[in-house]
Symmetry: D2
Subunit: 188 residues, 4 copies
Amino acid sequence: MILRQAPELQTIHWFNTDAPLTLESLLGRVVVIEAFQMLCPGCVSHGLPQAKRAAETFSSDDVCVLGLHTVFEHHAAQGTVEALAAFLHEYRITFPVAIDAPTGNGGPPKTMTAYDMRGTPTLLLLDCKGRIRKQYFGREQDIVIGAEIMTLVCEGQNLGSRTSHAGGRGFGRMKSKQIRGRARVTAP
Amino acid sequence: MILRQAPELQTIHWFNTDAPLTLESLLGRVVVIEAFQMLCPGCVSHGLPQAKRAAETFSSDDVCVLGLHTVFEHHAAQGTVEALAAFLHEYRITFPVAIDAPTGNGGPPKTMTAYDMRGTPTLLLLDCKGRIRKQYFGREQDIVIGAEIMTLVCEGQNLGSRTSHAGGRGFGRMKSKQIRGRARVTAP
Amino acid sequence: MILRQAPELQTIHWFNTDAPLTLESLLGRVVVIEAFQMLCPGCVSHGLPQAKRAAETFSSDDVCVLGLHTVFEHHAAQGTVEALAAFLHEYRITFPVAIDAPTGNGGPPKTMTAYDMRGTPTLLLLDCKGRIRKQYFGREQDIVIGAEIMTLVCEGQNLGSRTSHAGGRGFGRMKSKQIRGRARVTAP
Amino acid sequence: MILRQAPELQTIHWFNTDAPLTLESLLGRVVVIEAFQMLCPGCVSHGLPQAKRAAETFSSDDVCVLGLHTVFEHHAAQGTVEALAAFLHEYRITFPVAIDAPTGNGGPPKTMTAYDMRGTPTLLLLDCKGRIRKQYFGREQDIVIGAEIMTLVCEGQNLGSRTSHAGGRGFGRMKSKQIRGRARVTAP
């Protein structure tokens, strides 16, 4: 089976990052994209909290968690930079978030269209080579998401170890706070 | 750092399995052990449901989820085969569960003592070589547990691919229901 | 419509009370009975926590919350005083709890039969005159239960005010901790 | 103690009602006011769902549940009719909601100020005579809210029964769906 290369993000504004991010610049890391709308109840109750937990669990050296505000309805209420800024502030979202580029014709925005997303929340997992490995519309359990992200992390480290550091452990780094404070997977 | 080899289980009765299991017979697979007591509220509300989700998420070819009934208090109420049988039936626990062997002196049972467990629930993660990689007393998040189990799965497949099947993908198998119905990580 | 008088409790053991309680002795107060089994998952996750909240919310001068252990299955595991004592200790249940009297023939116990209960959890609300005003099998929302109990409290105080203190306010007393610390319904 | 008469609502727009509501027109009924902001996480996760449950539990003949959008921050994001319309649509809020009248100077809006509200969510309970009986900032349990609302309903029916229908039962009507389908408090 041929995996699809993830289309580049088309955005008009970024929050929580000094400079706009591109998927190309993130090659070599797993990328988790949470596509959401600020007035989508399922995004607020499930999708965004899960993305936050992913950002807190994995090392940013291995995994980049991004939000993508894919406004396809309620443009007057959701479509401004001010509205999203207020939302991100109130919900304490600190990972990078972009506004998906509108088409100007009132339809779904450009990145959403390029990925054929069916709605929000949509969770995307891209591997270290920038390929779409999962695109999920709706809810998925945390234990499954955790396992899937780590699969891609290990796969990426494996690729690396074959070429450059043959002694690599194939072991996913998790946030040091996690490893020390709570998770306590003892390294070999 | 030297990893500790997991002491063999010392048990007196098994449920949900045709024959008693030993850690030795499980070498080559990741082993998840949920040590619990049937009247421990944290085990009932958190530990056992999490173990169930782990059993539902990972392929049994990769990961073996076990319960261990480590009765160290309320022996009259919790200590019989009948009591645990009723509990497992009511809570729909279908993965293998063993009763930890009592010492006969009223203290903590033998396996619990051999692992220096502090109480229940305790979650243990053993790698494919039978070494203790995590021993957690209390609660841990599902996303962390999912990632940690998959780390050990990938590590094991990696070890395997080096020796026997060099073309191995280093990719953790998850339950087919998961992959098809919900998780949709596209294989390369 | 004729309301049914609640059959007297038939019990063999009481916990959390100096002397056995009878419905007759509780006339003049609203009585909330949570019929449960210690190995019934719905009782543990929903019914008993709700009964605890009822006991914490209402003044014991107005409302008496009781547990009734109606063992109709898994007698070996649930049917002893020791088993229930361990359960009540672990789940921090401090309101009075009785063991429903077994028939000796293995069928449902005597009080359960007298009330035609369909299973556990069953919630019973008795008014100040000892009549059954609600008998619910399964789950009910807290806001509904809170309103229903208070309806019966007000009704009882109303009855009282007609006979003895004509200037009565018809106002349900709630626990002083509630009223001062959180609930803050200002008295007229 | 002298109870404070609730200041009249000062509003600029209403949703889910044919005509603007006034507290004066609601005299004789208990009034529940949920003061919220659409981007306040505690309002979205707790306050508004609780108000919905109150609206579903009590008869509208006895209890009127209102929302009041008290915007005191993020005016650009929350302050328009379009923004709130989108929010109410997405969160399926069908009880009447008003926008609190802004002062024009960027401070808290007029009704919020008149009630000395400390923030959102604030829950207000007014009795049948239009007096403030509770003003709660933050979270309160459903069982407490249900009991408190019913206290005021019973009190109001009591007042009524003294003057007009002496044979009144002093019994709070709850939604017929509730009484038949789930709650089953048998009327005398």
